[in-house]
Symmetry: C2
Subunit: 256 residues, 2 copies
């Protein structure tokens, strides 16, 4: 059974997609078989990995609403062991279609059972809300990674997210735990970054990953080329940070 | 009847709240009577204007679900002519409670009729989604302002937003129009900013405001002090830009 990691935070623009793309790529470059599921109708993770619009037609929307074999929805990327299930705006329809369904929060979890696709790790990029798409990811996941932007509003919403994680754990998915908080867009020149990082560590302790992701323009440039930063500019501070994050995640999860 | 302006974009972290707070403050500092409605359960606009948690208890949630007189929900700010209707996490409940109701998209528009509060301009800060809270804002509004971050993913979702605006105009609110796109977090040192700005102008023409909002650390510092940047550091590039934006908005709307 793959290790399923939801990447979630209802605060917008905190680096969920950037973390999903670059962490998935860094894990795959070590030979792990990784699947990235784009669960955001904006489809930014699909764009950031160069998945064309036609290739998204059978993607996360079909995974949630149709009966197609999940393995048939996997799209190739530049990295042999990294596959993507893409998203487009149709996925916004799934959220409305599922509302009246029985066991609507379990749809993704059920579709991913019985070894539906060969993977060691599955990462799920969530939209900036705590609606049905994010709930499906939380019910399917074993852990949640929470990107936390080192900016002022970032800490505001985290207690709402941890309350949601606790209530999903209690009533829908008992194995779900908080995998940790990842500090993103850290800018040494800006003392707010330091304040937010200190606050986060004071509040969440060792749940905050040691790896700090710096603000690095090569990260957004890579996205405009549809490539992970590790391939676009392997020696950039962004690429090195996501590689370190991959090491830390594997060691926290007890991988050899 | 006040001029009602929704500030919306389902892409997260693009500067919706920052624009709502600082544009509202700049308009109020010219003596216009302004009300800012925080329609995001994260309550970042409430925090950014120093509204305490107790003062949010009777806020946008009550405006949408209860019968309290709207004028009784107005909270004072440091600026005499700027009032706020605050938000807290209860507002996330309104979205669920309204789903089954008749005319659920018109709730805000109906509550703001008949001169419910003395204002020249009402700004509504929307959450990063196109759900029921944003729909209520679009139905109540005369125009939509769309903050567009000068970063790669920013242009991805805009066509989905303009489609939503068109469909709201066709079926729910015939007077709604696109008020314009405001380019935010523009960074002269980063050529992606220039690319996004050029793309936006090529695509939307004069609908893109001339005023560029620069990335300016004083803007986020001001938020951590619960004050608009125009009060926190009036000579900062951020404060000057939002003041220029207020001038441009008033002239585009035909104010003397
Ligand atoms: N470390 C970084 N350095 C520089 N830019 C970054 C970094 N991380 C993210 N960005 C940029 O910040 C913006 C927001 O990041 P991203 O889209 O990953 O956030 P998100 O949380 O997925 O947003 P949403 O809430 O809309 O899903 C993007 O334009 C991205 O390119
Ligand atoms: N011009 C600017 N210069 C520097 N920082 C900025 C600027 N505009 C916004 N920010 C910072 O960027 C972050 C995102 O901005 P903001 O919260 O206003 O976006 P939003 O679109 O309202 O986000 P959400 O989608 O979560 O509602 C905040 O931490 C804010 O302080
Ligand atoms: Mg994203
Ligand atoms: Mg906001």
């Amino acid at each position: 059974v793959p290790d399923i990691i939801a990447i979630a935070n209802q605060k917008g623009g905190v680096g969920k997609t950037t973390t999903a793309i670059n962490l998935a790529a860094a894990l795959a470059q070590r030979g792990r078989r990784v699947v990235l599921i784009d669960a955001d109708p904006q489809g930014n993770a699909s764009t950031g990995l160069g998945i064309g619009h036609a290739a998204r037609k059978n993607g996360t929307y079909s995974l949630l609403t149709a009966e197609a074999a999940p393995a048939s929805l996997l799209r190739d990327t530049e990295i042999e062991t990294l596959k993507v299930i893409g998203a487009d705006n149709d996925l916004a329809g799934a959220e409305i279609e599922l509302v009246g369904e029985d066991r609507r929060e379990y749809r993704l979890a059920e579709r991913m059972q019985n070894g539906s696709f060969p993977a060691d790790l599955v990462l799920i990029d969530c939209p900036p809300s705590l609606g049905l798409l994010t709930l499906n990811a939380l019910v399917a996941a074993s852990i949640v990674l929470v990107p936390l932007q080192c900016e002022f509003f970032a800490l505001e919403g985290v207690s709402q997210l941890t309350r949601t994680i606790d209530s999903v754990k209690r009533s829908l998915n008992p194995r779900l735990t908080l995998g940790g908080l990842v500090l993103t867009m850290y800018d040494r020149r800006n003392n707010l970054s330091e304040l937010v990082a200190d606050d986060a560590r004071a509040f969440f302790g060792t749940a905050v990953f040691d790896t700090l992701i710096p603000r690095n323009i090569r990260i957004s440039e890579a996205q405009s080329h549809g490539r992970p930063v590790g391939l676009y500019d392997p020696r950039s501070s962004g690429a090195l940070a996501y590689d370190t994050l991959a090491t830390e995640l594997l060691s926290r999860r007890g991988y050899p």
